[in-house]
Subunit: 195 residues, 2 copies
DNA sequence: CCCCATATACTCGGTACCGGATATACGGGA
DNA sequence: TCCCGTATATCCGGTACCGAGTATATGGGG
């Protein structure tokens, strides 16, 4: 069976190991330090499953098994040639081909007509505010990172996320106005249904 | 144990049943007809699991068990009072509170520095084109839906998605230029690493 | 009237994933 | 010196999810 590119955590593991050999716990540490867990979902259970899977497919290899005192053994892994190839190929594919992703908000907003218009307006406003807060938090973080002398390329995903959040906020603002003023298409019928 | 709001398919089920009682297979049909599967991930396995879970938590109730000839039994479900409450509450929460979601592209772009600049430019361009195609396809669909006399509220999630796709395309276009012209922060070092 | 492609309706086994449990080491305060 | 809170490092049981499989009914062409 060929390796399945499902969990992006596996991608992160390959990326880390292409720097230097590590044991799983160290990978987790490093990801935390670099705020990578903002972008890639990390939890220990999945990490060990993913590492084992990569190992089975010989994309990584056990470089050493260390044992210090009575501590649990630490298996240090290194990326293989096939692993490096997989990393680059997967990465290219991930960027070039938009994946079909199901976002919870899209599901929610598609059913917004089930709520009374007043409720809908309220929750959309609340989201708008929340998105605004995320934006300011991100701006502060970017300021800090740039101040530390990190190049833009090192936090390019935050740049992307900011652009998306700004677009979302703009859309929410438009929709809120359209609901408040009753100019969204189908408003009369919507209002009638909730009397 | 209280009901866990994980799979949005359960939300879709509650929404459908708040229209009229249905059996699971009929729900799937209806979702397909209405292009809801664009927004909520649907497959039979999950559908039956989700329906069973809703039933266990008494958010829906078995209204009738029909049997026609030698066909498998069809259990028709109806939403309960608690189910309607859950639907509205969940919906409000989904819209009002941005959920932490991990998008594959963000993971990918955060590691774009691992690719040679030329490769990076290529894949970003390819994505830009793909997003453009999605946009035109969406525009055609919207035209069709509006032509059928459907109100904007009925396809509001497509409106949202279009706004997001436009923002993504704009960002990709910016990034592509920044890479081509070498103006993205950290470009020299990036180029040096790949000689 | 027979055949087969398609539609109907659900079931089931496998697996990836989650998050809490486990077990030892270390360090600092009383 | 003795706790105990935190850090180190992995494991494991449960479950939600997936998608392929099953079995019968329908209906249109030859």
């Amino acid at each position: 069976m060929t390796f399945k590119r499902t969990n992006p955590l596996a991608l992160a593991v390959l990326a880390l190991l292409s720097e230097r050999p590590m044991h799983p716990y160290e990978m987790a540490q490093t990801m935390r330090e670099r705020h990578q867990e903002e972008v890639v979902k990390l939890n220990y259970g999945s990490l060990y499953t993913v590492v084992e899977s990569l190992h089975r497919h010989e994309l990584i290899a056990a470089a050493a098994v260390q044992k210090a005192g009575n501590r649990p053994e630490r298996t240090v892994y290194a990326v293989t040639g096939a692993g490096t190839a997989e990393l680059h190929d997967w990465l290219r594919d991930l960027i070039a081909t938009p994946a079909k992703e199901y976002r919870a908000f899209e599901a929610g907003i598609s059913m917004v007509g089930l709520l009374p218009p007043a409720d809908a307006l309220d929750v959309v406003r609340r989201r708008e505010a929340a998105v605004g807060e995320q934006l300011t938090a991100l701006a502060v973080l970017l300021e800090k990172l740039a101040g530390m002398g990190l190049p833009q390329l090192a936090w390019i995903e935050l740049d992307y996320r900011m652009a998306m959040l700004r677009a979302e906020r703009a859309w929410l603002s438009w929709f809120a106005t359209a609901v408040r003023e009753g100019t969204v298409g189908g408003f009369e019928h919507w209002e009638d249904r909730h009397r």
